[in-house]
Every structure is written in C-alpha cells, then in structure tokens.
Symmetry: C2
C-alpha cells in the first residue's frame, strides 16, 4: 500500500516500518550436540528509488528508516540540496518502492549518476567520479577538539546502543555525535546504508553537521570517507580498520580519521591535533 | 604498462602484483599516551574491466590476484561460460585497467547486465535480476556429508591463514575446501571480491566445484549466496551472520548454510542433514 509521507513532519522515526528481524527454526551445535532452536536473523529487503517517475537505483537494506535512507542517498548523490527541493514522497513498503518527486532541474546530475552506475561494482564504483567532485571543494577547516577519553566513552556507548546487533550479530551501526553525546543513531545490514540513514535524518531536520562527528562500526573505505566529507563533517571514528585510500582522502580533505578504537587504545591516522590527551 | 596474460598458464598466482599493504606513520594512543608508530594498512585500488573494448565496471579492491577477480566477476555475471571463451587478457596495473576479449555473442548478457547496473546501489542491485536466473535452475542435489568437527577445524585453519588480516585487520578471506582441506584461499577488502577471486581461480583451472564448499569470513547476504549457488556449490560456511533473504534462497536452492562458527559452536540454517555429529 502506497503511503504519502507528510513533508512537514519533522520526525519520521515514528512511521511504522515492518520488523527488522525474522525468527527461524535452526539447528545449533553446541557441546557436541545438535539442538533445534529459535534464532533471530536480520532482514534484507530491496528498496527501489523512483526519482520523478524514473527508476534510479535499488538498495538492499534492512527495512527500517527507509525514508531517511532514500533521502540520505539522494542528498549524497547531489539530487537534492535542501529539503525544499522535495515536492512529494510516497513509500510502498510491501513492494519495496519509494517514489520521490523533486525540482526537475537535475538533468546534469542524472547524467553523471548514470555514468557512475555503469562503472559501478559492489556498489563502490560511484566513487571515482565523486572524488573529483569532492576534491574540487576546499579543505575542512574545523577547530573541533575532543579529549581521547571522550572518544573511548562514545565508542562504548555506541556499541551498547545496537539492540539489533545484540539480537542478530548481523548489522552495522552509525551515529552522529557532538559534545560526547550520540545525537542520531541508525542501523542497517550495510555500512553505507547505515551512514545514509544518519545523513538523511540530518538532511530532513536541517541539522548543522560541521561541528559534529561520525561514529561507525564498519571499516572506513574511500566511499564512506567521501560521503562524510561531502557533508563537511571533520571527524570519523571507527571500531574497525581504514584503507590506504580512505587515509589519503582524509589527509587531502581535512578530516581526522580514527580507527581501531578498542579498549583503551586507538589509532589516529590524520589530523591528530584534534584529539587531546 | 600493459602486460599480456598467457592464457595457457595454469597458475596465475605467480604473476607479480603490487603490494597489498602500505605503511603509514600514525599516532597511537595507548596507556594514556600519544606515540608515533608505523602502521600497516590494506590497499584499496580501482580495477576497471573493459570487455571487448567497452568499459563494463569498476571494482574497488585489494591489488592482488586481479586477473582471477576479473575472471570470477565475468563468469559470475554470465559473460564467459568456459575458459575457451576468453580470447585475450591484458592487465595494466599502474592504471588499474584489465582488458578482456571474449567471443562476441554476448549482446543479451550485456543488455541484462546494463539493466542490472542501472538498478545497482551499494553494489547489491545486481541481485534481483539474478534471483530469477538462479531460481530457474534446479535445486542442488548433493550427497556431501561433513562431520561438525571438520567444520570447526576448517574454520580454525582458515582464520590462521590470513596474513593480510593479521597485518592490517582490514580484509575478508574466502576459501574453497574439500575433505577437510583448504584448496584455494583469497583475500580482499571486499567480501564479494574475495569470493570472486576464489571462483575465478576455479574457473581458470577448470576445478569441479559440486563436491566442494565455500568458507567466508564475511556475513552471508543474498548476493554472496547467489554467487555460490550459480556454481552449484552445496555448502557455505561463515564466521559471521546470514540475512533472512540468504537463508530463504539457500532453502530454495538446496544449499547448506552454516553461520556463526565460533569456538565449538555453530548455527546450521538450512539442510542440516549434511552436517554429521
């Protein structure tokens, strides 16, 4: 059933979505014995985005916060610049379709997106056109400072926040933070999707992002780094590893990249002066 | 520099590639102190595949075993059915380009690939056309049996095999196994790529896969499951979690899906009769 999304609703978190988790009867081997148990598994569903009536992209994702996912994706790709660009949104969750109507002056963006998608594989192909876009922009000049103990505290709180991970062991989380507090928190089976959901929520609410930072449970690859850089967010912190390309981009674009935040330790790859001790 | 790949060489593992790891000077915080240390980071580079002169796709990957990656990708997408379909391969690693010349009777496949890529996002969009392809084929009828202790032993050996993971903490591994032995082992920053490298190596050497199984370090999503099912491999085993869609596809296609193999435990999601106790 197609449901129209009220554009003046500032909090879409309340829109009821289908469950993110499904129960299966499985066989568990433990203590050398087979037993039949109930197990909770993360859901994976397709969401096809139609933009002004044309099929644009299908994301495989966890079926929660789908509107923020679509909005975050569209904003990240340059299809929308501000909330007023959106004229209409409707979601048909059973069929996995979201239709977004925007100001129709986007032919250039569409062409460049099509080009990117043709060179896309494992969803990572969008990046090399994007690098040129982003490198054109100026270096992030943020005076943000953070004590390392705040990084550790944030990571602990972040890891305790993922109820879906505790249930299923199969999701990534992403959060937007400021002053030692988690402001936005989203989950998805894909690390790109979880980030797009956070950024989509920020876009929807008009959140100022230049004084915030991003926490992610996933590895930091070039695509993740570029998504964050496009929003001029000066810091990204992960439990996991970065790639060499992500580090080089962070260096060029002015982001502090922190990885392997585990226990009392962390690695600061770029702009370490923003982390105080 | 473009290098022609000898098609009659049965072991491409010897072809020299660039290093998979790069060293960075980073700041580490440990015991409440900052110190400057050398750290090894996994490399991420683009590989653009040209098929019969046309740009097909760009994969972001770790720069090792790139020929197997390209071959595994092309075979998985249906562009090549047997090694004899390949007329010529050349790799230019500095520029990240691999050119593959194949029998030119693939217009249908190309059209369907283009369609998939337009609906592709986070590299996962290829799947929903593929599901129909795969579901058209028959259920895997394998009599493979494996003792659960062999699963545990394989997973232990598998986890000890990844030198790149030990160095960088930033890669996925994938292996093809039979009779408790690891026959093929590949690594990449992407879990799809690691699997494509294993399947590409099998394709190149004409390995019979119906009596083998796949081990992966990554989560089992629908795309991973479908890649394995296309090769009629009857079992996939992971250290991580599956999604509901992967389980449902495994059930339909006749694969045994085992997840969360950790310590002495494992979860068997489908066709548990292939795991003995």
């Amino acid at each position: 059933m197609e449901k129209k999304i009220p554009l003046d609703d500032n909090d879409l978190l309340q829109i009821k979505m289908e469950a993110e988790v499904e129960s299966f009867k499985i066989t568990r081997i433990r203590l050398k014995e087979k037993e039949e148990v109930e197990d909770k598994v993360i859901k994976e569903t397709p969401l096809t985005i139609f933009l002004n009536g044309e099929e644009l992209v299908t994301l495989l994702c966890t079926p929660c916060q789908l509107i923020y996912l679509a909005i975050g994706f569209l904003a990240g790709e340059g299809f929308i610049k501000k909330k007023e660009d959106i004229k209409d949104i409707s979601l048909d969750q059973e069929r996995g379709i979201i239709k977004v109507e925007v100001e129709d002056s986007l032919e250039l963006v569409k062409k460049s997106f099509a080009k990117r998608m043709i060179t896309s594989g494992c969803g990572k192909g969008t990046i090399f056109y994007s690098i040129n876009d982003v490198l054109g922009s100026s270096i992030i000049q943020s005076k943000m400072k953070l004590h390392y103990s705040e990084v550790l505290n944030l990571m602990r709180e972040f890891q305790n926040s993922s109820l879906l991970f505790k249930k299923t062991g199969g999701v990534h989380s992403c959060a937007l933070c400021q002053d030692g507090k988690i402001l936005k928190f989203q989950e998805d089976l894909g690390r790109h999707n979880a980030l797009d959901k956070v950024l989509g929520e920020c876009f929807w609410e008009g959140v100022f992002t230049l004084d915030k930072l991003i926490l992610t449970s996933g590895r930091i690859t070039s695509e993740i780094l570029l998504k964050v850089a496009k929003w001029e967010i000066p810091m990204i912190i992960s439990h996991g590893a970065p790639t060499d390309l992500a580090i080089k981009l962070a260096e060029k674009l002015g982001l502090t990249l922190v990885g392997f935040v585990r226990g009392e330790k962390m690695n600061i790859y770029t702009y370490e002066e923003r982390i105080l001790i």
